[in-house]
């Protein structure tokens, strides 16, 4: 009888804890265009569009803020794409989080959307890839550092901290990572070049010449 009572007690306590956890989890409501897609990819939960939204080509980048190959691409290839395609209105870019490398990866991705709440998504995104350190989960992207990056961008810290600490965007990151898996991305960075008629996949931090060849064939 005592044994049964103990088991029943554990079950009841577990249910109460579960309900309490569910009730206290932050509700996630964002003002997003859930119908936004590029080719076969749902980019609704991804970044704001960088560049001309009406550009004929969209580059969809799947990335992790702790990935050093993403860092390489950001510093070696992206500047040339910005100069020749995005700033000229020939293409635009959407970043979709594929946060799988370490425990700080999803938090870093969430922080970018907290910055987006204040209209500074791309500034924050750039500061993460500029400040990336070579070691995964070494602390360079922990909560304190993420808040420091926000402070450096003159964001409203009360709003940012509340957003980050409440994990407001955790499900958004999960959705984006699932998009990566669903579209056959098997590592970061992974790209889809979506043109007017077709889309092509590029795996890895490939050089500018590859992007140039594909995009020129689409225009």
């Amino acid at each position: 009888m005592n044994k049964k009572g103990a088991i029943l007690g554990i079950v009841v306590i577990s249910i109460i804890i579960g309900i309490a956890a569910f009730a206290s989890s932050p509700s996630e409501t964002y003002d997003l265009d859930m119908a936004r897609t590029h080719g076969d990819i749902s980019t609704a939960m991804g970044s704001p569009i960088l560049g001309n939204p009406l550009a004929p080509i969209t580059i969809v980048e799947f990335g992790d803020y702790q990935c050093h190959q993403c860092y390489n691409w950001f510093h070696n290839t992206k500047p040339m794409i910005m100069r020749d395609y995005i700033e000229t209105g020939k293409a635009n870019l959407v970043f979709v989080d594929f946060a799988f490398l370490g425990k700080d990866s999803p938090k870093a991705s969430q922080a970018t959307y907290c910055a987006d709440d204040q209209g500074k998504y791309w500034e924050y995104h750039n500061s993460l890839y500029t400040s990336q350190e070579s070691k995964i989960d070494s602390g360079w992207a922990n909560s304190e550092r993420l808040k420091a990056f926000a402070f450096n961008l003159d964001l409203d810290m009360a709003l940012f901290n509340q957003c980050l600490d409440s994990e407001k965007y955790s499900k958004r990151i999960q959705y984006n990572s699932q998009q990566a898996r669903d579209n056959g991305v098997r590592g970061t960075p992974g790209f889809f070049i979506v043109g007017p008629d077709d889309q092509k996949q590029i795996a890895g931090a490939q050089p500018f010449s590859v992007f140039q060849r594909i995009m020129d064939s689409m225009v």
Binding site: N72, L101, G187, T188, G204, R213
Partner: protein, 161 residues
Amino acid sequence: MIKITKLVFQNFKFLFLSMIIFSSMMVVLLIISEYIFLEPYFVTHIPSGTEFGFFLITAISALSALVIPMNLFRIINLKSSKQKMSGSIVGSIVGSVAGACSCGPVGFAVISTFGSVGATATAFLTNYETPLRIIAIAILIITFFTTIKSLKIECKINFQS
């Protein structure tokens, strides 16, 4: 040292094996480390800031191609023990595994398969890629010199007997 090296590699079988080891290791490691891409086009590049990594891969491939055939020569021709062979194998494996994971398909597969344990292993191999490759090079260099030394002794004994 040069005499001993010549002695091994004047045999075409060992020279061929050496070339196979060097080219296959080099190509595989360069693909894994994203210096070579096969799709959508074949392309090679060395992004700025990754030159040292390229040098380490070349050194590991070259040393493996030197040390593994020399040890096989010892085992096959001189009927020696396989003990020193393990140094060359360990050095090659450590050098290959370091940095093989990271954020590419190998890392993704490891993390997807083994979950948090895979993520920890991947993070370790990525974080310590350069020191691990340097350790691998050190192991291969030590194995090279001990192999030369033992070949000198064993060949002398064999020639005398």
